[in-house]
Symmetry: C2
Subunit: 220 residues, 2 copies
């Protein structure tokens, strides 16, 4: 059984490992909002417990055991997010911090019944997949909106940024999950993207376009 803190480290390492193979001390420190020295201490502890493989100065990778524990926390986090949005009417930009706390409640029974109560959802309010109780899930094939060309179309199925500010912005623009979009133009000047959504033309910055994930896209 892991402590609250250990669980947070595992989760952060898991997410960072989606980008790079060996996860660096500094990257973890930044995510956990702590100092690199503290991370080194904790890494040693996790290595001791065989949750990560660790070679000094080389960063860490999760062991099977560690990954399993991490996926379990991700599952809880995402199920709680669904609960908050579907049942308690939270907005998608309001759920993260609360789910961050709820994910550490330890009760297998609780999470299985919650899953059932929610109708075994496959994805959370941000489009991220929810692992089943065996830790299995299929990651949907995404492409970043920024990578689409003029004339391409598709469906908004995810976001790669969960900050409240970003999500509120999308909400205001009507760029929510499930919406159909089509690229009508890309501005030379600032790389901003002109898109057609529900018969309306809107312009979004490059920065925003980078973090919107599209599936079902039809090439022009």
């Amino acid at each position: 059984m892991q402590s609250f803190t250990e669980e947070n480290y595992l989760k952060v390492i898991y997410h960072l490992a989606e980008k790079t193979n060996n996860v660096q001390t500094n990257a973890i420190a930044e995510q956990i909002q702590t100092k690199p020295a503290s991370v080194t201490d904790m890494i040693k502890k996790l290595a001791e417990k065989e949750l990560v493989d660790y070679i000094k100065y080389q960063g860490v990778t999760l062991t099977d055991k560690g990954r399993h524990a991490a996926v379990d926390i991700v599952r809880k986090h995402r199920l709680w997010e669904v609960f908050l949005v579907d049942k308690l009417n939270f907005k998608w930009d309001e759920v993260h911090d609360v789910a961050e706390e709820l994910e550490h409640i330890k009760s297998v029974n609780l999470i299985e019944r919650l899953d059932e109560f929610l109708g075994f959802p496959k994805s959370d309010p941000h489009g991220d997949p929810i692992p089943d109780k065996n830790g299995r899930f299929t990651k949907t094939q995404f492409i970043k909106l920024i990578e689409l060309k003029i004339g391409d179309s598709g469906t908004i199925t995810g976001v790669s940024q969960h900050s409240s500010a970003f999500l509120k912005h999308l909400e205001k623009l009507g760029l929510t999950l499930g919406k159909q979009i089509k690229i009508s133009d890309v501005t030379d000047f600032d790389g901003s993207v002109e898109i057609l959504i529900e018969e309306k033309q809107i312009n979004i910055s490059r920065e925003v376009a980078k973090h919107i994930l599209i599936s079902n896209n039809g090439k022009n």
Copy 2:
């Protein structure tokens, strides 16, 4: 803002204060499952924060601030219990430990929306009253079943023991909240009580009878 541990101390002191005015160090230690020396340490910290009034060797009492914080935790605990039973189909004997964790989630918003989602319940699965968001609640007028005389009747509206073993036992006997009972006999030998419930005669031990709370009772 209080720590997880501080919250537990406040809650325990609050419950112990329902019986005695000045709550003793040893009593707290027993509840928290810790040593009296540790309790003294924590008491000093709580006194420092003006959550309790403390005179050395004289035990503690909650300040208004401390009581407010404690009632808030009790409110959360009981609301989560309702959630677990009403929505996730937990049995009344399964909810305590999980609610013990959930009660420490810090989000005013969460608890207000949960309250609404549950339909602003007035009592939890064990019949205990749920404080409203201002900490107000009315304690129902209870009498212990053991105190009833032959011929007296009433409705089961609460229990004064929350152990899983006790609650499971009641469940098996059909002694659940809302049930109408009538005392048909009291055994001289062991003080056990014969009661009439749903046209059936059953015998319950003195120990059990002590922890069943009856309201609406009609004297013979």
